[in-house]
Subunit: 446 residues, 4 copies
Amino acid sequence: MIPRYSRPEMVSIWSAETRFAIWFEIEAHATSKLAELGVVPKESAENIWKVMNARKAEHGDYGFDVARIDEIERTTKHDVIAFLTHLSELVGPDARFVHQGMTSSDILDTTLSVQMARAADLLIADIDALLAALKRRAYEHKDTITIGRSHGIHAEPTTFGVKLAEAYAEFSRNRARLVAARAEIATCAISGAIGSFANIDPQVEEYVAEKLGLSIEPVSTQVIPRDRHAMFFATLGVVASSVERVAVEIRHLQRTEVLEAEEFFSPGQKGSSAMPHKRNPVLTENLTGLARLVRGMVTPALENVALWHERDISHSSVERMIGPDATVTLDFALGRLTGVIDKLVVYPENMRKNLDLLGGLHNSQRMLLALTQAGYSREDSYAAVQRNAMKVWEMRGDRAGQFAQNLKEDPQVTLSDAQIDAMFDDAYHLKHVDTIFARVFGTGKD
Amino acid sequence: MIPRYSRPEMVSIWSAETRFAIWFEIEAHATSKLAELGVVPKESAENIWKVMNARKAEHGDYGFDVARIDEIERTTKHDVIAFLTHLSELVGPDARFVHQGMTSSDILDTTLSVQMARAADLLIADIDALLAALKRRAYEHKDTITIGRSHGIHAEPTTFGVKLAEAYAEFSRNRARLVAARAEIATCAISGAIGSFANIDPQVEEYVAEKLGLSIEPVSTQVIPRDRHAMFFATLGVVASSVERVAVEIRHLQRTEVLEAEEFFSPGQKGSSAMPHKRNPVLTENLTGLARLVRGMVTPALENVALWHERDISHSSVERMIGPDATVTLDFALGRLTGVIDKLVVYPENMRKNLDLLGGLHNSQRMLLALTQAGYSREDSYAAVQRNAMKVWEMRGDRAGQFAQNLKEDPQVTLSDAQIDAMFDDAYHLKHVDTIFARVFGTGKD
Amino acid sequence: MIPRYSRPEMVSIWSAETRFAIWFEIEAHATSKLAELGVVPKESAENIWKVMNARKAEHGDYGFDVARIDEIERTTKHDVIAFLTHLSELVGPDARFVHQGMTSSDILDTTLSVQMARAADLLIADIDALLAALKRRAYEHKDTITIGRSHGIHAEPTTFGVKLAEAYAEFSRNRARLVAARAEIATCAISGAIGSFANIDPQVEEYVAEKLGLSIEPVSTQVIPRDRHAMFFATLGVVASSVERVAVEIRHLQRTEVLEAEEFFSPGQKGSSAMPHKRNPVLTENLTGLARLVRGMVTPALENVALWHERDISHSSVERMIGPDATVTLDFALGRLTGVIDKLVVYPENMRKNLDLLGGLHNSQRMLLALTQAGYSREDSYAAVQRNAMKVWEMRGDRAGQFAQNLKEDPQVTLSDAQIDAMFDDAYHLKHVDTIFARVFGTGKD
Amino acid sequence: MIPRYSRPEMVSIWSAETRFAIWFEIEAHATSKLAELGVVPKESAENIWKVMNARKAEHGDYGFDVARIDEIERTTKHDVIAFLTHLSELVGPDARFVHQGMTSSDILDTTLSVQMARAADLLIADIDALLAALKRRAYEHKDTITIGRSHGIHAEPTTFGVKLAEAYAEFSRNRARLVAARAEIATCAISGAIGSFANIDPQVEEYVAEKLGLSIEPVSTQVIPRDRHAMFFATLGVVASSVERVAVEIRHLQRTEVLEAEEFFSPGQKGSSAMPHKRNPVLTENLTGLARLVRGMVTPALENVALWHERDISHSSVERMIGPDATVTLDFALGRLTGVIDKLVVYPENMRKNLDLLGGLHNSQRMLLALTQAGYSREDSYAAVQRNAMKVWEMRGDRAGQFAQNLKEDPQVTLSDAQIDAMFDDAYHLKHVDTIFARVFGTGKD
């Protein structure tokens, strides 16, 4: 997580202030339930909330003093103990009833769940914004004809709107995956040293889970099992790979020879300090790199699953790094991609120009089918079309209409000129755009 | 995929015979629909099915001649064309109506979907078998007390059944993940060269999808988008990591000094050719390695997502290898793990012996709480317990009852002997085993 | 390892026949040394070689019967014992002196070293062939001017020969890395059950190592330490990534809009069954996928390092798969890349055409420097150049000479027309091509 | 890179101050050479050094004002331009001769080389410290007998010193790898927009390289080729995996049931807030996690190799993160491991106790050989040893001397009691410890 690729809202989820606030709420809810169960005095439990809610009303948050907690931790060498000590400074003697029968992991793991769930919420919102931008631009360019390319080579026409509809469909899937990933990690464990509830009633876990909007972990050890976190980070890796796919598409479209679309380039912007003529797709190149970073965090998360027995702590350093890094980086990437799509400069006339570059070769399949239907064998049809196509391929200079021309001049092709010309209307290729839009957006109309 | 780590049923999904059978069914269903749409003659479409179903009735399968197809491919240099040529050898002239308006990718990608869906079905069945074994052994050892370990160090007691219940819960999650992953890739695309349906009606796709039990791909390019496959392989990586977790647990339990459980060792088996005394956990060590292999296939699948434009073919070589390798390896691993669990030799008496190894230290938390409740400050309580615990820790030889003894002799611990002894009953730690079983299995009873 | 992406020479390194031949040689050399040390009878040691060398003289190899060994293994459940049994069938009673004091791992790990060293030799030879192709084509196109591109956007001119020289330099480095990687794994361990030489004299290891061209492993456990193998596979991952870099370059150059170079397309070849006009860069796309596969094997090899204590066997399944897969795949990829480079069709006229596409903008830096030297501030110079460049950028249609034209017409640019024209000779950009070639190839001349 | 797992010296390599100091030195050396070549005035070049060296003499460093540079960058949106502007504020008008004919990448990439080379130097020094600690402890425990374990199961004896000698040999290899990795990335490129030296003489590159202790990059594009960086990070991944291996060994040795060694536990330390009896191997568990993190950065670095054409900028975000993260994390890990080894508490008596746990079974191979040599067939010998060994294996309670006892009582084992007893002296297993030490340390003596 580096500031250059971070947005404040996601960063704040991982701040010390947020962490302590969640710690407090877990502890205070647990104390409330313990009071209800008769383990600690009711008035103490209530007073803790009263004092801290008053602070919140005043400060906007609970107002923990992070520096003070750090100071105490330097003595106690234990973060949760330092926090509890500071809490008692704020709350007074009632604080001694906090944390009864709980272990540090109960707090730490449940807090991580809350943080990851909140991070997932932001990422889902990011995708919603991206979907909105994709949909808007897709409808804008629903009928903007452009060449479809397989292997980087011209194939047959499609529309730029359909390209964006593909991205929309892909990110709709990613949204659903993130919702599932969120559910994976939104669990609460307050079950003690090895998950046996020896020193705390399972009802406390149930109560805290409900208060925090989590489900209970059916069986925990000292920790929430790490297959959940692995699935979460694996999902982020898939989403990042989709970001890369769209980024690579735009980088291709902006290539000098293609230039069908371009990242927005503001007046006064400099593409290169040395070469004043440059406008580079630096945002999408950056997204490509960010995707690599997020993907690189998947395997460490998978390696974290096989903790020893009821837990070891090897996962902890991994999560301290990839928890913030993966979510902050992906959040930034999704935001950046949304901006790119939103402001993407599209050049329909270049799309048209490129489409015509090969002198009509994008209709080679139609011509093949026409010849077959006219009674030629598949082999002869293929040979005739390929022969005339390759002549165009190898031409230099203006090829406009050249494929049709060649076919008309080929003595072995006995279709009439009119029949040949009929193979070159673009509408043929676009007749199902409405169908596709209806499948993706629910309707072909905006 | 190597024979040593393969099972025939999963291997057969990836055989040439299976592939050609799926190819045929896609083609034949598509032809049926094209007949219905009036594009090809109805009797031809019907005859194709008639001839081939007759072969199937006779041979048990459609009886494609793989060697013959290979021979044709050496001439045509195109696998789908070779297949179609062979099909016409079997079916006669009606075969010329097959593949009308379709492209090779329509067949290839939809076939991959069918294969991956079938592979997922096998994996789900594998997990069901594993869950059954885990559940049986979990109930068998529901009350078999054993020490819980954090950091490899004795913590507090749990039961061996609870350990297995954890594995059960984890694989229940993995089952749900595989069901979701199956849905990800069970889609059908018959949409032509760049997904525009220019030469084939979308109704054909819908018809074939329904016949094959797939959903339609809302918007494809030439290919089904690879975020789907990425999600599938990422899920296999998570499942493999869970396999590793259980395998590592068993490897630990079989260590000479621990020996609480052991892989089944058959009479006549040799653990080592050089050292006749050995019984090694080779199956679970092998599972650890297989997990690494499956995990290693996740990143290539993620890298496959960002194909260029409407497709490039870089994903193909990756999938030719990891498609079979990941599914065959994981299938084998799940089967092997089920066998290990099923026949695992458990040593409750060693569990008991190990539990007592530290002379009662596993009750240090209880003692801490007891002192706190007796009015000692948390700091004093901790110091008293730690002081007496460390004396036991550093003892050599028999420590039975030593922790309680030390506490009784400590002048600063004013609890009565009876109060101290009361802290050492095991039932305290196991009182919520029923709760945990009810959460995991729906009921605490078998 | 699948036949489609395999070459026989590398495959044969991993065959059962090769493995057994190496096993035999290790065993027989060890027996020779044991005879010298007086542990076994000299005549027996000599006779073993005599019998087997006679077989070799007759059969071309030692003629082990793999099926027979498999058959024995089905009874003994131990591969090395099965081999030794078969050996005694071939050699007679003297065979009982083979394998004295050795353990299976001594044979297996040293054999893996021999196989990996041989694989490295093939890969180094592959790179030598690739380097030769790159050098030949580099000199052929030493002066073929082409636009250099940063961010996919035209920057300044270079030559196609320089591009190939870059690839040459990169693969020279890869060659050196492979030589180092070969040295990493070319070690011999014959040290017994946990590496203590309890039952075999270290001199045996030294002798066998020398005979096999290996170094001794200074300290082994039961196995050769896996950091060596990790380094080997990591190196293959780097080489594969370089293969991808060159492959991606060619894929870019073959794009329809660029078409500066093209994979060789043979007469009669079909680029697409549906679209007869297509010529796709399928070989380099395939190389991109193969690179992903090899890279995916790096992490499992790294995870293999942390074996437990003196060894566990988790690495074995990983190496059974990635040993052959990584070397066979990379060997195939290097061979394919060499073929692509060798037969690459280069279009200098298209390079020229593309170079001029932006109407001279590739001299924007020169113009910027010229204005600065003429006394304009850097800011004013930049603004003037960018202003006139962007006008060209946004033009459609023929831009020939347009950048110079704009500058001449700009009243704020007071350079003379002659001064401006002088900024547009290409030789300026190519003046150090000889220097670069001299650095890379040792000389600027062929 | 998070403070918790960072050491200041490595962090400072990646600070803004260090970066600007390297930028300055590259620029100033280049200007010196340009002055020598007559491109810029000699007195200006000299004055720049004079002014800045004076600042350095005064401040200890060049005293760049990072905040001021950031402020300028907010206007110029370009980091190198902001730096140059600030430099001119410090140096005055002579600064206008800086950066003549150079591009930003010349500075940025060469700076990264310097930073990575310095990072490598620190890592090499870290390994030297680790090697020293390993050697000291290895000699200390050269004769401390301990059981060697394969598969986690007792095999045959070795010494704890030999275990440490293995680690020493492994890290000696890692040192050599880091030296090679350093050479990979210690190159200098000052070659302009696409590496053609169009606007700057290659002699400048040569001069700057020499001054900075780098080699020249034989052929660069706009950037230094990323196969170099890939190799660097791959090497860090191997070193991290070796760290994990040693860490896992220690975690195993500290397990409650084994307890042959223990991380140092200071008086006053708390292993667990809830369970006062705990002493956990938290440092080595942490090292396991840190290894996962460093390994996870290898693949992104490999993916960075295939930049498009003469460069795209996708690698940049990756390196901004993994450059500092991988080196800082590995530096911290090596330091922590050195501390662990240095202060490791070793329990020879527990090693002895564990060695005897199986009642002498660790001599089963010797017994097998003895029986064979006494004329028993290999099969009968194996059966006899296994039969008597398994009886011990399945015993509970004290097994001291039990294996020998069983053998003596076995009527089918006709060796005398004396012959059997002779198989149980430990010296047999340790007779080559000196050989091993001589191989690893150059001498068997301290």
